[in-house]
Protein backbone atom coordinates (compact mmCIF):
# COMPACT_ATOMS: atom_id res chain seq x y z
CA UNK A 1 0.00 0.00 0.00
CA UNK A 2 1.09 3.55 -0.66
CA UNK A 3 0.65 4.35 3.03
CA UNK A 4 3.09 1.64 4.10
CA UNK A 5 5.67 2.76 1.57
CA UNK A 6 5.33 6.31 2.80
CA UNK A 7 5.59 5.18 6.41
CA UNK A 8 9.00 3.78 5.68
CA UNK A 9 10.08 6.96 3.92
CA UNK A 10 12.50 9.17 5.79
CA UNK A 11 10.63 12.41 6.65
CA UNK A 12 13.94 14.29 6.47
CA UNK A 13 14.34 13.25 2.85
CA UNK A 14 10.74 13.27 1.65
CA UNK A 15 9.95 16.41 -0.39
CA UNK A 16 6.67 17.97 0.68
CA UNK A 17 6.16 19.36 -2.81
CA UNK A 18 6.63 15.97 -4.47
CA UNK A 19 4.81 13.83 -1.90
CA UNK A 20 1.20 12.74 -2.24
CA UNK A 21 -1.38 13.85 0.33
CA UNK A 22 -1.35 10.42 1.99
CA UNK A 23 2.44 10.33 2.11
CA UNK A 24 2.51 13.74 3.78
CA UNK A 25 0.03 12.69 6.44
CA UNK A 26 1.66 9.38 7.23
CA UNK A 27 5.17 10.82 7.37
CA UNK A 28 4.12 13.93 9.32
CA UNK A 29 2.26 12.08 12.08
CA UNK A 30 3.84 9.86 14.72
CA UNK A 31 4.77 6.54 13.06
CA UNK A 32 1.82 4.19 12.73
CA UNK A 33 -0.62 6.61 14.41
CA UNK A 34 -2.72 7.72 11.44
CA UNK A 35 -6.28 6.38 11.13
CA UNK A 36 -8.22 7.54 8.10
CA UNK A 37 -11.94 8.40 8.13
CA UNK A 38 -13.88 7.45 4.97
CA UNK A 39 -10.81 5.76 3.49
CA UNK A 40 -10.62 5.00 -0.25
CA UNK A 41 -12.01 1.51 0.38
CA UNK A 42 -15.37 3.16 1.12
CA UNK A 43 -15.35 4.75 -2.33
CA UNK A 44 -17.08 7.98 -1.34
CA UNK A 45 -16.78 9.53 -4.77
CA UNK A 46 -18.11 12.63 -6.44
CA UNK A 47 -21.65 12.12 -7.76
CA UNK A 48 -21.13 14.95 -10.24
CA UNK A 49 -17.91 14.32 -12.19
CA UNK A 50 -19.41 11.57 -14.38
CA UNK A 51 -21.69 14.21 -15.92
CA UNK A 52 -18.53 15.80 -17.28
CA UNK A 53 -17.01 12.47 -18.34
CA UNK A 54 -14.25 13.01 -15.82
CA UNK A 55 -12.53 10.31 -13.76
CA UNK A 56 -13.27 10.12 -10.06
CA UNK A 57 -11.07 9.41 -7.04
CA UNK A 58 -12.05 7.01 -4.26
CA UNK A 59 -11.23 9.71 -1.70
CA UNK A 60 -12.39 12.69 -3.82
CA UNK A 61 -8.95 14.21 -3.48
CA UNK A 62 -8.74 14.66 0.29
CA UNK A 63 -7.48 12.49 3.15
CA UNK A 64 -8.97 13.06 6.60
CA UNK A 65 -8.40 11.27 9.88
CA UNK A 66 -6.83 11.27 13.30
CA UNK A 67 -3.28 10.72 14.42
CA UNK A 68 -0.88 11.72 17.14
CA UNK A 69 1.85 14.34 16.91
CA UNK A 70 4.54 14.04 19.56
CA UNK A 71 2.05 11.87 21.41
CA UNK A 72 -0.81 14.39 21.37
CA UNK A 73 -4.04 13.57 19.54
CA UNK A 74 -4.67 15.64 16.41
CA UNK A 75 -7.16 15.65 13.57
CA UNK A 76 -5.63 16.07 10.14
CA UNK A 77 -6.78 16.74 6.57
CA UNK A 78 -4.64 16.72 3.44
CA UNK A 79 -5.69 17.78 -0.04
CA UNK A 80 -4.34 15.90 -3.05
CA UNK A 81 -3.21 18.50 -5.56
CA UNK A 82 -2.80 15.88 -8.27
CA UNK A 83 -6.52 15.12 -8.39
CA UNK A 84 -8.53 17.95 -9.99
CA UNK A 85 -5.95 20.41 -8.67
CA UNK A 86 -7.00 19.66 -5.10
CA UNK A 87 -10.17 21.62 -5.74
CA UNK A 88 -13.19 21.71 -3.43
CA UNK A 89 -16.06 19.56 -4.68
CA UNK A 90 -19.10 18.43 -2.70
CA UNK A 91 -17.62 15.30 -1.10
CA UNK A 92 -14.12 16.79 -0.76
CA UNK A 93 -15.45 19.84 1.07
CA UNK A 94 -17.88 17.85 3.24
CA UNK A 95 -15.05 15.61 4.49
CA UNK A 96 -13.17 18.68 5.72
CA UNK A 97 -16.32 20.20 7.25
CA UNK A 98 -17.09 16.92 9.03
CA UNK A 99 -13.54 16.71 10.41
CA UNK A 100 -13.76 20.22 11.84
CA UNK A 101 -17.16 19.56 13.39
CA UNK A 102 -15.79 16.37 14.92
CA UNK A 103 -13.02 18.43 16.52
CA UNK A 104 -15.60 20.19 18.68
CA UNK A 105 -16.52 16.82 20.26
CA UNK A 106 -13.10 15.17 20.33
CA UNK A 107 -11.16 18.29 21.44
CA UNK A 108 -7.83 17.25 19.91
CA UNK A 109 -4.64 19.20 20.64
CA UNK A 110 -4.96 20.75 17.15
CA UNK A 111 -6.45 20.37 13.69
CA UNK A 112 -3.94 20.38 10.84
CA UNK A 113 -4.98 21.26 7.28
CA UNK A 114 -2.46 20.40 4.58
CA UNK A 115 -3.60 22.69 1.77
CA UNK A 116 -2.96 21.82 -1.87
CA UNK A 117 -5.75 23.43 -3.85
CA UNK A 118 -6.66 25.60 -6.79
CA UNK A 119 -9.92 26.59 -5.06
CA UNK A 120 -13.44 25.64 -6.09
CA UNK A 121 -13.95 22.67 -8.44
CA UNK A 122 -15.88 24.35 -11.23
CA UNK A 123 -17.78 21.20 -12.20
CA UNK A 124 -19.33 21.36 -8.70
CA UNK A 125 -18.90 25.07 -8.18
CA UNK A 126 -21.93 25.82 -6.00
CA UNK A 127 -21.28 22.86 -3.72
CA UNK A 128 -17.58 23.72 -3.48
CA UNK A 129 -18.21 27.39 -2.74
CA UNK A 130 -20.77 26.57 -0.05
CA UNK A 131 -18.42 24.00 1.49
CA UNK A 132 -15.71 26.65 1.72
CA UNK A 133 -18.09 28.92 3.62
CA UNK A 134 -19.04 26.03 5.92
CA UNK A 135 -15.37 25.24 6.48
CA UNK A 136 -14.60 28.83 7.48
CA UNK A 137 -17.45 28.89 9.98
CA UNK A 138 -16.37 25.52 11.37
CA UNK A 139 -12.75 26.71 11.75
CA UNK A 140 -13.94 29.73 13.70
CA UNK A 141 -16.00 27.47 15.97
CA UNK A 142 -13.01 25.20 16.56
CA UNK A 143 -10.66 28.12 17.25
CA UNK A 144 -13.17 29.72 19.60
CA UNK A 145 -13.22 26.42 21.52
CA UNK A 146 -9.50 26.90 22.13
CA UNK A 147 -8.30 24.33 19.57
CA UNK A 148 -5.58 25.63 17.21
CA UNK A 149 -6.18 25.13 13.48
CA UNK A 150 -2.85 25.07 11.68
CA UNK A 151 -2.46 25.33 7.89
CA UNK A 152 0.56 23.84 6.10
CA UNK A 153 1.16 25.07 2.56
CA UNK A 154 3.80 23.75 0.22
CA UNK A 155 2.11 21.61 -2.41
CA UNK A 156 2.24 21.87 -6.17
CA UNK A 157 -1.28 23.30 -6.52
CA UNK A 158 -0.54 26.04 -3.97
CA UNK A 159 -3.43 27.52 -2.00
CA UNK A 160 -5.68 29.53 -4.28
CA UNK A 161 -9.20 30.89 -4.48
CA UNK A 162 -11.39 29.90 -1.56
CA UNK A 163 -8.43 27.90 -0.24
CA UNK A 164 -6.66 31.21 0.34
CA UNK A 165 -9.63 32.47 2.35
CA UNK A 166 -9.71 29.30 4.45
CA UNK A 167 -5.97 29.67 5.06
CA UNK A 168 -6.58 33.22 6.26
CA UNK A 169 -9.08 31.85 8.78
CA UNK A 170 -6.57 29.45 10.40
CA UNK A 171 -4.79 30.20 13.69
CA UNK A 172 -1.33 29.86 12.15
CA UNK A 173 0.22 29.03 8.77
CA UNK A 174 3.49 27.40 7.79
CA UNK A 175 4.67 27.76 4.22
CA UNK A 176 7.58 26.60 2.12
CA UNK A 177 9.14 28.34 -0.82
CA UNK A 178 6.95 26.30 -3.17
CA UNK A 179 3.77 27.24 -1.35
CA UNK A 180 1.74 30.01 -2.95
CA UNK A 181 -1.17 31.74 -1.25
CA UNK A 182 -3.51 33.94 -3.25
CA UNK A 183 -7.17 34.49 -4.07
CA UNK A 184 -7.05 35.15 -7.81
CA UNK A 185 -4.54 32.92 -9.56
CA UNK A 186 -2.10 34.35 -12.12
CA UNK A 187 -4.07 32.96 -15.06
CA UNK A 188 -7.34 34.31 -13.68
CA UNK A 189 -5.93 37.83 -13.32
CA UNK A 190 -4.38 37.70 -16.78
CA UNK A 191 -7.57 36.36 -18.39
CA UNK A 192 -9.71 39.06 -16.80
CA UNK A 193 -7.35 42.05 -16.70
CA UNK A 194 -4.73 41.37 -19.35
CA UNK A 195 -1.05 40.44 -19.38
CA UNK A 196 -0.09 44.05 -18.58
CA UNK A 197 -1.71 43.60 -15.17
CA UNK A 198 -0.27 40.14 -14.56
CA UNK A 199 1.84 38.06 -16.92
CA UNK A 200 1.10 34.53 -15.74
CA UNK A 201 4.03 33.13 -17.74
CA UNK A 202 6.45 35.21 -15.68
CA UNK A 203 7.04 32.55 -13.03
CA UNK A 204 9.45 34.74 -11.06
CA UNK A 205 6.67 37.33 -10.75
CA UNK A 206 4.26 34.65 -9.54
CA UNK A 207 6.68 33.47 -6.82
CA UNK A 208 7.52 37.03 -5.74
CA UNK A 209 3.88 38.10 -5.49
CA UNK A 210 2.22 34.98 -4.09
CA UNK A 211 5.05 32.72 -2.94
CA UNK A 212 5.99 31.55 0.51
CA UNK A 213 8.83 34.01 1.03
CA UNK A 214 6.67 37.08 0.37
CA UNK A 215 3.91 35.78 2.61
CA UNK A 216 6.38 35.01 5.41
CA UNK A 217 8.14 38.40 5.22
CA UNK A 218 4.86 40.32 5.34
CA UNK A 219 3.34 38.23 8.13
CA UNK A 220 0.91 36.39 5.85
CA UNK A 221 2.46 33.16 7.17
CA UNK A 222 3.99 32.44 10.59
CA UNK A 223 6.72 29.95 9.73
CA UNK A 224 8.92 29.20 6.74
CA UNK A 225 9.96 25.61 6.11
CA UNK A 226 12.47 23.80 3.98
CA UNK A 227 10.71 21.50 1.53
CA UNK A 228 10.74 18.39 3.71
CA UNK A 229 8.05 16.66 5.73
CA UNK A 230 10.16 16.86 8.88
CA UNK A 231 10.49 20.65 8.51
CA UNK A 232 6.70 20.97 8.30
CA UNK A 233 6.33 18.67 11.31
CA UNK A 234 8.65 20.84 13.40
CA UNK A 235 6.83 23.97 12.24
CA UNK A 236 3.43 22.46 13.09
CA UNK A 237 4.55 21.55 16.61
CA UNK A 238 5.96 25.02 17.14
CA UNK A 239 2.85 26.78 15.82
CA UNK A 240 0.44 24.64 17.85
CA UNK A 241 2.19 25.89 20.96
CA UNK A 242 1.69 29.55 20.16
CA UNK A 243 -1.69 29.86 18.46
CA UNK A 244 -3.61 33.11 18.98
CA UNK A 245 -7.07 32.99 20.51
CA UNK A 246 -10.12 33.83 18.44
CA UNK A 247 -11.75 36.91 19.93
CA UNK A 248 -12.38 40.60 19.41
CA UNK A 249 -8.89 41.58 20.59
CA UNK A 250 -7.24 39.31 18.02
CA UNK A 251 -9.42 40.62 15.20
CA UNK A 252 -8.87 44.24 16.27
CA UNK A 253 -5.15 43.53 16.14
CA UNK A 254 -5.50 41.95 12.71
CA UNK A 255 -7.49 44.96 11.51
CA UNK A 256 -4.68 47.28 12.65
CA UNK A 257 -2.02 45.01 11.16
CA UNK A 258 -3.67 44.85 7.73
CA UNK A 259 -4.53 48.57 7.70
CA UNK A 260 -0.89 49.35 8.48
CA UNK A 261 0.23 47.06 5.68
CA UNK A 262 -2.00 48.75 3.11
CA UNK A 263 -0.93 52.22 4.31
CA UNK A 264 2.74 51.33 4.18
CA UNK A 265 2.93 49.24 1.00
CA UNK A 266 -0.22 50.19 -0.91
CA UNK A 267 1.73 52.07 -3.57
CA UNK A 268 4.30 49.31 -4.15
CA UNK A 269 4.29 47.81 -7.61
CA UNK A 270 6.47 44.81 -6.90
CA UNK A 271 7.26 42.56 -3.95
CA UNK A 272 10.88 43.72 -4.03
CA UNK A 273 9.64 47.25 -3.25
CA UNK A 274 7.77 45.86 -0.24
CA UNK A 275 10.81 43.92 0.97
CA UNK A 276 13.02 47.01 0.67
CA UNK A 277 10.61 49.01 2.81
CA UNK A 278 10.55 46.18 5.32
CA UNK A 279 14.25 46.78 5.78
CA UNK A 280 15.64 43.93 3.71
CA UNK A 281 19.03 45.25 2.58
CA UNK A 282 19.32 43.55 -0.76
CA UNK A 283 15.76 42.58 -1.77
CA UNK A 284 16.78 41.28 -5.21
CA UNK A 285 18.64 38.44 -3.51
CA UNK A 286 15.59 37.14 -1.58
CA UNK A 287 14.28 34.70 -4.22
CA UNK A 288 17.64 32.91 -4.41
CA UNK A 289 18.26 32.72 -0.64
CA UNK A 290 18.46 29.28 0.94
CA UNK A 291 16.30 28.48 3.96
CA UNK A 292 18.92 29.47 6.56
CA UNK A 293 19.74 32.79 4.91
CA UNK A 294 16.06 33.56 4.46
CA UNK A 295 15.26 32.64 8.07
CA UNK A 296 18.00 35.06 9.22
CA UNK A 297 16.47 37.77 7.02
CA UNK A 298 12.98 37.16 8.43
CA UNK A 299 14.35 37.48 11.96
CA UNK A 300 15.21 41.12 11.24
CA UNK A 301 11.72 41.99 9.93
CA UNK A 302 9.38 43.18 12.68
CA UNK A 303 6.18 42.68 10.65
CA UNK A 304 6.81 38.96 10.12
CA UNK A 305 5.77 37.80 13.60
CA UNK A 306 2.50 38.67 15.31
CA UNK A 307 -0.54 37.22 17.06
CA UNK A 308 -2.98 39.16 14.87
CA UNK A 309 -4.68 36.40 12.90
Amino acid sequence: MAGERAASTDPDALSWYEATARQRVVALADPGSFREFLPPTERRMSPHLPLFDLPRAFDDGIVVGRATLDGSPILIAAQEGRFMGGAFGEVHGAKLVGLLRAALELTPRAVLILFDTGGVRLQEANAGETAIAETMRAIVDVRAAGIPVIGLIGGRAGCYGGGGLIAGTCSRLAVSEGGRISVSGPEVIETNKGAEEFDSRDRALVWRTMGGKHRRLTGGADAFCADTVSAFRRAALDLIGRAPSFDLETLEAEQARLEARVARFGDCRDATDVWRRLGVNDPETVPAMDTDAFTATVARVREADHDAR
Binding site: A94, G98, L99, L122, A125, E129, G220, E252, Q255
Partner: protein
Protein backbone atom coordinates in the same frame (compact mmCIF):
# COMPACT_ATOMS: atom_id res chain seq x y z
CA UNK B 1 -35.02 45.95 -5.90
CA UNK B 2 -32.43 48.73 -5.74
CA UNK B 3 -30.50 49.47 -2.56
CA UNK B 4 -32.54 52.66 -2.08
CA UNK B 5 -35.78 50.67 -2.32
CA UNK B 6 -34.45 48.06 0.11
CA UNK B 7 -33.45 50.71 2.64
CA UNK B 8 -36.79 52.45 2.23
CA UNK B 9 -38.63 49.21 2.91
CA UNK B 10 -36.43 48.37 5.91
CA UNK B 11 -36.46 51.83 7.47
CA UNK B 12 -39.70 53.70 6.74
CA UNK B 13 -38.71 56.31 9.35
CA UNK B 14 -35.30 57.02 7.81
CA UNK B 15 -31.73 55.83 8.26
CA UNK B 16 -28.06 56.90 8.14
CA UNK B 17 -26.88 54.45 5.49
CA UNK B 18 -24.48 55.83 2.87
CA UNK B 19 -22.65 54.38 -0.12
CA UNK B 20 -19.06 55.43 -0.85
CA UNK B 21 -17.16 53.91 -3.75
CA UNK B 22 -19.59 51.01 -3.73
CA UNK B 23 -19.18 50.29 0.00
CA UNK B 24 -22.32 50.46 2.13
CA UNK B 25 -22.36 51.46 5.80
CA UNK B 26 -24.67 52.93 8.42
CA UNK B 27 -27.71 51.95 10.44
CA UNK B 28 -31.38 52.58 11.03
CA UNK B 29 -34.02 52.06 13.73
CA UNK B 30 -35.24 48.48 13.86
CA UNK B 31 -37.60 46.60 16.19
CA UNK B 32 -36.85 48.79 19.18
CA UNK B 33 -33.10 48.55 18.60
CA UNK B 34 -31.09 49.46 15.56
CA UNK B 35 -29.99 47.45 12.54
CA UNK B 36 -26.42 47.92 11.33
CA UNK B 37 -25.88 47.79 7.57
CA UNK B 38 -22.67 46.90 5.76
CA UNK B 39 -22.24 45.74 2.20
CA UNK B 40 -21.27 46.25 -1.39
CA UNK B 41 -23.45 47.96 -3.99
CA UNK B 42 -23.35 48.54 -7.73
CA UNK B 43 -21.59 45.36 -8.87
CA UNK B 44 -18.39 46.67 -7.24
CA UNK B 45 -15.40 44.31 -6.98
CA UNK B 46 -14.22 43.77 -3.40
CA UNK B 47 -10.51 44.46 -2.90
CA UNK B 48 -8.38 44.58 0.23
CA UNK B 49 -9.18 48.24 0.94
CA UNK B 50 -12.93 47.65 0.78
CA UNK B 51 -12.71 44.46 2.82
CA UNK B 52 -10.92 46.34 5.62
CA UNK B 53 -13.45 49.20 5.53
CA UNK B 54 -16.33 46.75 5.95
CA UNK B 55 -14.51 44.75 8.62
CA UNK B 56 -13.81 47.96 10.57
CA UNK B 57 -17.52 48.70 10.59
CA UNK B 58 -18.42 45.18 11.73
CA UNK B 59 -15.84 45.20 14.54
CA UNK B 60 -17.10 48.62 15.69
CA UNK B 61 -20.58 47.14 16.00
CA UNK B 62 -19.23 44.22 18.04
CA UNK B 63 -17.19 46.58 20.24
CA UNK B 64 -20.32 48.67 20.90
CA UNK B 65 -22.17 45.59 22.13
CA UNK B 66 -25.96 45.64 22.49
CA UNK B 67 -26.59 42.64 20.26
CA UNK B 68 -27.33 44.92 17.32
CA UNK B 69 -28.12 42.74 14.31
CA UNK B 70 -25.99 43.23 11.19
CA UNK B 71 -27.48 43.08 7.70
CA UNK B 72 -24.95 42.45 4.94
CA UNK B 73 -26.37 43.77 1.66
CA UNK B 74 -24.66 42.46 -1.45
CA UNK B 75 -24.60 43.47 -5.09
CA UNK B 76 -20.92 42.96 -5.86
CA UNK B 77 -18.59 41.74 -8.53
CA UNK B 78 -16.10 39.01 -7.60
CA UNK B 79 -12.98 39.81 -5.59
CA UNK B 80 -10.94 42.58 -7.20
CA UNK B 81 -8.53 40.83 -9.50
CA UNK B 82 -5.25 42.72 -9.45
CA UNK B 83 -1.56 42.35 -8.84
CA UNK B 84 -1.72 44.98 -6.08
CA UNK B 85 -4.49 43.24 -4.16
CA UNK B 86 -2.65 39.91 -4.19
CA UNK B 87 0.66 41.58 -3.30
CA UNK B 88 -1.03 43.09 -0.24
CA UNK B 89 -2.55 39.77 0.86
CA UNK B 90 -6.13 39.85 -0.39
CA UNK B 91 -6.69 36.39 1.08
CA UNK B 92 -5.99 37.80 4.54
CA UNK B 93 -8.23 40.82 3.93
CA UNK B 94 -11.22 38.80 2.75
CA UNK B 95 -10.74 36.16 5.45
CA UNK B 96 -10.53 38.96 8.03
CA UNK B 97 -13.89 40.34 6.91
CA UNK B 98 -15.46 36.87 7.07
CA UNK B 99 -13.96 36.31 10.52
CA UNK B 100 -15.32 39.66 11.73
CA UNK B 101 -18.83 38.63 10.64
CA UNK B 102 -18.46 35.19 12.20
CA UNK B 103 -17.21 36.77 15.42
CA UNK B 104 -20.17 39.16 15.43
CA UNK B 105 -22.57 36.23 15.13
CA UNK B 106 -20.83 34.36 17.95
CA UNK B 107 -20.93 37.52 20.07
CA UNK B 108 -24.71 37.79 19.96
CA UNK B 109 -25.12 40.04 16.92
CA UNK B 110 -27.37 38.16 14.48
CA UNK B 111 -25.87 38.38 10.98
CA UNK B 112 -28.17 38.27 7.99
CA UNK B 113 -27.06 38.40 4.37
CA UNK B 114 -29.25 39.94 1.71
CA UNK B 115 -28.18 39.44 -1.89
CA UNK B 116 -30.13 41.64 -4.29
CA UNK B 117 -27.77 41.72 -7.28
CA UNK B 118 -24.68 39.91 -8.40
CA UNK B 119 -21.90 38.41 -6.31
CA UNK B 120 -19.22 35.90 -7.07
CA UNK B 121 -16.24 33.95 -5.83
CA UNK B 122 -14.15 35.46 -3.02
CA UNK B 123 -16.40 38.49 -2.55
CA UNK B 124 -19.41 36.21 -2.07
CA UNK B 125 -17.58 34.03 0.47
CA UNK B 126 -16.31 37.00 2.49
CA UNK B 127 -19.70 38.76 2.71
CA UNK B 128 -23.02 37.01 2.12
CA UNK B 129 -21.74 33.49 2.81
CA UNK B 130 -20.17 34.56 6.12
CA UNK B 131 -23.56 35.41 7.65
CA UNK B 132 -25.70 33.09 9.76
CA UNK B 133 -28.66 33.23 7.41
CA UNK B 134 -28.58 34.36 3.79
CA UNK B 135 -31.68 35.72 2.11
CA UNK B 136 -32.10 36.82 -1.48
CA UNK B 137 -34.44 38.99 -3.47
CA UNK B 138 -35.85 37.79 -6.79
CA UNK B 139 -33.50 38.77 -9.58
CA UNK B 140 -30.37 38.22 -7.49
CA UNK B 141 -27.61 36.55 -9.44
CA UNK B 142 -25.00 34.82 -7.28
CA UNK B 143 -22.45 32.69 -9.05
CA UNK B 144 -19.03 31.17 -8.68
CA UNK B 145 -18.11 31.71 -12.31
CA UNK B 146 -20.11 32.59 -15.41
CA UNK B 147 -20.77 29.81 -17.93
CA UNK B 148 -18.42 31.13 -20.68
CA UNK B 149 -15.55 31.05 -18.16
CA UNK B 150 -16.58 27.59 -16.97
CA UNK B 151 -16.53 26.52 -20.62
CA UNK B 152 -12.97 27.82 -20.99
CA UNK B 153 -11.71 26.05 -17.88
CA UNK B 154 -13.54 22.77 -18.36
CA UNK B 155 -12.98 22.77 -22.14
CA UNK B 156 -16.63 21.85 -22.70
CA UNK B 157 -18.70 23.53 -25.40
CA UNK B 158 -20.81 26.38 -24.08
CA UNK B 159 -24.02 25.05 -25.63
CA UNK B 160 -23.55 21.70 -23.90
CA UNK B 161 -22.87 23.46 -20.56
CA UNK B 162 -25.96 25.61 -21.05
CA UNK B 163 -28.00 22.47 -21.61
CA UNK B 164 -26.49 20.73 -18.56
CA UNK B 165 -27.12 23.82 -16.44
CA UNK B 166 -30.88 23.35 -16.85
CA UNK B 167 -30.86 20.02 -15.03
CA UNK B 168 -27.78 20.23 -12.79
CA UNK B 169 -27.90 22.84 -10.04
CA UNK B 170 -24.51 21.94 -8.60
CA UNK B 171 -22.40 23.94 -11.04
CA UNK B 172 -24.64 26.40 -12.85
CA UNK B 173 -24.78 30.10 -11.90
CA UNK B 174 -27.96 31.65 -10.59
CA UNK B 175 -30.15 32.13 -7.56
CA UNK B 176 -32.24 28.96 -7.91
CA UNK B 177 -29.09 26.84 -7.88
CA UNK B 178 -27.69 28.57 -4.79
CA UNK B 179 -31.03 28.01 -3.07
CA UNK B 180 -30.86 24.33 -4.01
CA UNK B 181 -27.36 23.87 -2.54
CA UNK B 182 -28.54 25.44 0.73
CA UNK B 183 -26.27 28.48 0.48
CA UNK B 184 -29.27 30.78 0.22
CA UNK B 185 -31.78 30.02 2.98
CA UNK B 186 -34.79 31.98 1.78
CA UNK B 187 -36.07 34.20 -1.03
CA UNK B 188 -37.95 37.25 0.23
CA UNK B 189 -41.09 38.82 -1.21
CA UNK B 190 -40.33 42.28 -2.61
CA UNK B 191 -44.05 43.18 -2.46
CA UNK B 192 -44.07 42.90 1.34
CA UNK B 193 -42.19 45.20 3.74
CA UNK B 194 -38.65 43.91 4.24
CA UNK B 195 -38.68 45.16 7.81
CA UNK B 196 -40.98 42.36 8.95
CA UNK B 197 -39.35 39.70 6.77
CA UNK B 198 -35.88 40.43 8.15
CA UNK B 199 -37.29 40.56 11.69
CA UNK B 200 -38.83 37.12 11.14
CA UNK B 201 -35.54 35.73 9.85
CA UNK B 202 -33.78 36.96 12.99
CA UNK B 203 -36.49 35.48 15.20
CA UNK B 204 -36.16 32.13 13.46
CA UNK B 205 -32.37 31.80 13.62
CA UNK B 206 -31.23 28.28 14.44
CA UNK B 207 -27.97 27.30 16.11
CA UNK B 208 -25.40 25.54 13.96
CA UNK B 209 -24.86 25.60 10.21
CA UNK B 210 -28.05 24.54 8.40
CA UNK B 211 -26.67 24.76 4.88
CA UNK B 212 -25.77 21.13 4.25
CA UNK B 213 -29.10 19.99 5.66
CA UNK B 214 -30.93 22.43 3.37
CA UNK B 215 -28.83 21.25 0.43
CA UNK B 216 -29.84 17.65 1.11
CA UNK B 217 -33.54 18.51 1.53
CA UNK B 218 -33.59 20.59 -1.63
CA UNK B 219 -31.54 18.14 -3.67
CA UNK B 220 -28.85 20.59 -4.75
CA UNK B 221 -26.16 18.94 -2.63
CA UNK B 222 -27.25 15.34 -2.31
CA UNK B 223 -24.23 14.00 -0.41
CA UNK B 224 -22.59 16.74 1.67
CA UNK B 225 -24.53 16.32 4.90
CA UNK B 226 -24.25 12.53 4.85
CA UNK B 227 -20.50 12.71 4.23
CA UNK B 228 -19.90 15.22 7.03
CA UNK B 229 -22.00 13.11 9.41
CA UNK B 230 -20.14 9.93 8.40
CA UNK B 231 -16.80 11.59 9.19
CA UNK B 232 -18.10 12.60 12.62
CA UNK B 233 -19.40 9.06 13.26
CA UNK B 234 -16.06 7.46 12.37
CA UNK B 235 -14.20 10.03 14.44
CA UNK B 236 -16.40 9.20 17.46
CA UNK B 237 -15.95 5.47 17.14
CA UNK B 238 -12.19 5.97 17.08
Amino acid sequence: MTLAEILGSLFPDGHSVTVREGLVGGSGPFAGNSLAIVGVDGDTPLGIDGALTLARSVLDTVRAGGRTPILVVVDSDSQRMSRRDELLGLNEGLAHLAKALLLADRSGHPTIGLIYGHSAAGAFIATALATRVLAALPGADPSVMDLPSVARVTKLPLDRLTEMARSTPVFAPGLDNMVATGAVHAVLDPEQPLHGQIRDLIAGLEPGDARDRLGAERGGRPMAQAIADAVIDQARSG
